[in-house]
Subunit: 266 residues, 2 copies
């Protein structure tokens, strides 16, 4: 056989898998993600998630790092995979939803080394925090919804405020990620003020934290009563639409859901 000329470098022996741990409960971790963790030579990720993903064997190399260095982590992963290693990048939730898959794509687009483009790259989806919180409490995401990040590290607050405003006008259920941070503690309060201008005080609000982990917390409250002090960077928030309902099926057992039907405009 003759050698085919090609502008693409030959595929390296290594591979790169970007996985999501889901909410943290191993019973919700996809078998494909579990397999990738087991086959990996190098595991890269934010320290907290690496701890959830382990333990690892002595022959596996763990590269943990602080938060906020997503792009560096992604580049490191490509370097190792291009050099022939089997590499897993660990995210929480779904790597495709406010997590590492985007940083991996950014690193790939900016790659100086064309071998990175030839790396066998797979993204393995996972269950995101809002889905896990929703399942614990019923079906609040059962109808049209949106998923917004309140972090203004990488986008201006004006864009966030405008999106909240339009999502409120559209009467979408709203899942909020990254509601506050030490650097900017007021995002969630500002978002609440905006949403309270559009939705009834009794609109159900769900606060989910560490779902499926030992310190799991799910709070059902209302738009009038929710207190920003109840929320930190690890909380996912679900704000109901005008149709979202709370029902008490048995003593102490409250469920929240958004019906499949929507009334005709009056």
């Amino acid at each position: 056989m003759s050698r085919q000329p090609s502008s693409t470098p030959p595929r390296p022996q290594g591979w790169l898998r970007v996985i999501g741990l889901g909410p943290g409960d191993p019973a919700l971790l996809a078998p494909a993600a579990r397999a990738a963790l087991s086959e990996a030579e190098d595991i890269i990720g934010y320290r907290t998630y690496i701890q959830l993903a382990g333990p690892f064997r002595d022959d596996q190399r763990v590269h943990d790092s602080d938060n906020r260095v997503e792009l560096e982590r992604a580049r490191h992963a490509f370097q190792l995979a291009a050099a022939g290693h089997r590499v897993v990048v660990v995210s929480s939730g779904d790597p495709g939803i406010f997590a590492m898959a985007t940083a991996v794509m950014e690193a790939l687009e900016q790659a100086k080394d064309p071998v990175w483009g030839a790396v066998d790259l797979q993204i393995i989806p996972g269950i995101s925090a809002a889905q896990a919180a929703a399942a614990r409490i019923g079906a609040p995401l059962g109808h049209d919804f949106c998923t917004l990040s309140l972090s203004d590290n990488l986008k201006p607050w004006s864009v966030i405020a405008r999106r909240l405003q339009l999502a409120a006008e559209a009467d979408l259920v709203i899942a909020l990620y990254n509601p506050s941070s030490r650097a900017r503690p007021h995002q969630f309060s500002e978002a609440l003020a905006l949403l309270r201008a559009h939705r009834a005080p009794e609109t159900p609000v769900i606060l989910g934290r560490s779902i499926g982990r030992i310190d799991e917390q799910v709070i059902v409250t209302t738009l009038a009563e929710v207190d920003p002090e109840q929320v930190d960077m690890r909380t996912v928030i679900i704000i109901g639409s005008s149709q979202t309902r709370t029902l008490e099926a048995a003593e102490g057992q409250r469920w929240v859901y958004t019906p499949r039907w929507y009334p005709e405009a009056g």
Copy 2:
């Protein structure tokens, strides 16, 4: 010990688990869902999904049904669980996203038998179709997005059109479920006309179908070129925002992603 008086009936022996199969690939099925399927005495669901969830043992009873009888299926599940059976209701994707968890909540709220409220009910989340399609092609859902159903079986088209309009104005990535049906084939064409008025012709559009199954299909096209003939009821569609990018990392290997950053308004 004295018997505690209570208005809640005693919890029946049976239980009810509402599970999602994910996109259909067993490697993406949560172990908790797999365990529920294994422990169940009765399995209830739409015929197509039951086939994906099986095979089942001789001692398991399978209750399959046509599509569009969600509420009947949910009531049947509560009847069996209240009578002491271990029951699984099977959805595709995530049961909480345009799937069976909502119908189960509706059945519970309308329950005539108070024992239904005492049933041990758990909803086990799964990976939804848009997440699976996104992972195959990169990270198009990596930034703010919304998830809308185009079905007007249970909501008026005017609500759908208004939500599309506002989501387009908010520059959200848009995942569309239930894009067309035999009863109403024009939804997706109407949605496209609306979106084309807001977004550039070269906006990336992803069509995903049967991800992780043997007939998997992922098409990357643009808002200008997408053809409603490429879409059926089993297709999930992802429409990029103004920031969503396509990159060709190697020959024939195209990726689509939405960056984490968003520019200041010009």
